[in-house]
């Protein structure tokens, strides 16, 4: 039902909704491959869903309980203006940082774990958006990553993108060792959705 609401808000047909989900599926697949290379572990992703892009809905998605989440947000520019977010609860963020740093890293510089999470966001965004670029033919530069702590709707508002009606969400899990699970979120701006709808119409016509 939330998917229907989100698609109605964005004015999408079922076919357009399906096409957007498939785009997100391909992007998430590339991001999962990149994460697998970073961690040397198998990474699974779920089928993308479409959600309403309000801060309250995002907070509900990321905060299953009282535990806060850590989100890495990047802004994609050009024809594919969007916010890309990687989010994990605190516990899973620590697990991912440990995995990336090979367990305790004695003598490591301070803030290395936070930097590791930011760099993960950067690499996953690069992989996701490279797939989008390949499909659409658009050049999609993006900003450096920003680390945001999300404990409530106010925190979630910091990672959502103004001018977005919908959010494409995929969950990922890193297999082996302590569980590491998180979310990939894409908030395409209204004009990006409009551009994608035009591309989808062209693809339907075989152009």
């Amino acid at each position: 039902m939330p998917e229907r609401l989100a698609s109605q808000i964005a004015g999408l047909s079922l076919l357009e909704l399906d096409a957007l989900r498939e785009l997100a599926n391909v992007g998430a697949g590339h991001a999962a491959t990149a994460l697998s290379r970073m961690t040397a572990r198998r990474v699974a992703v779920t089928v993308p869903t479409v959600a309403v892009a309000s801060a309250a809905a995002v907070a509900e998605l990321l905060l299953a309980g009282p535990e806060p989440a850590v989100a890495v947000a990047l802004t994609a520019q050009g024809s594919f203006a969007a916010r890309f977010v990687v989010a994990l609860t605190d516990r899973h963020a620590r697990g991912l940082a440990d995995l990336l740093l090979g367990g305790g890293d004695a003598g490591a510089p301070p803030h290395l774990a936070e930097s590791a999470l930011q760099e993960t966001g950067n690499v996953l965004a690069g992989a996701f958006l490279a797939a989008m670029s390949s499909i659409t033919g658009w050049c999609i530069p993006f900003s450096p990553p920003l680390l945001v702590r999300v404990a409530d709707s106010a925190g979630a508002a910091l990672v959502t993108e103004p001018g977005c009606a919908l959010c494409l969400e995929t969950s990922f899990s890193v297999d082996g060792g302590p569980p590491v699970r998180g979310h990939l979120l894409l908030f395409p701006r209204h004009d990006t959705v409009t551009g994608l709808r035009a591309r989808i119409a062209e693809w339907r016509l075989g152009n």
């Binding site: 990149a34 760099e119 950067n122």
Partner: protein, 118 residues
Amino acid sequence: MPTVLICDDSLFARHMTRRMLNGAFEVVGEAEDGEDAVARYRELHPDVLLIDLVMPRLSGTEAIQRIMAEFPDARIVVCSAMGQDQLVAEARAAGARGFVVKPAKPDELSAALGAVLA
């Protein structure tokens, strides 16, 4: 041992790159953004510069342009999460001789650096 200057705004990326190059290359310095890379390049004259693209203050592509204008023989390899064709072409046009897409494996990184030093 060939000398390398690493430029990346990510502390983690610089840390891991140092680890990956250990034993095969001498990391003579680190830079945190494009501005810093230009200054450190002038100071250190490394055999090769390994540089990211998306960074605050001055991007990797702009830094490459500035360094190439001053040091036309500079050997520069880009290591970036932005592997899109257009952006790779821009970096190459600026003067980068090699490009590695993150996350890079140690052998990929060594091969790319070795190729520009050959």
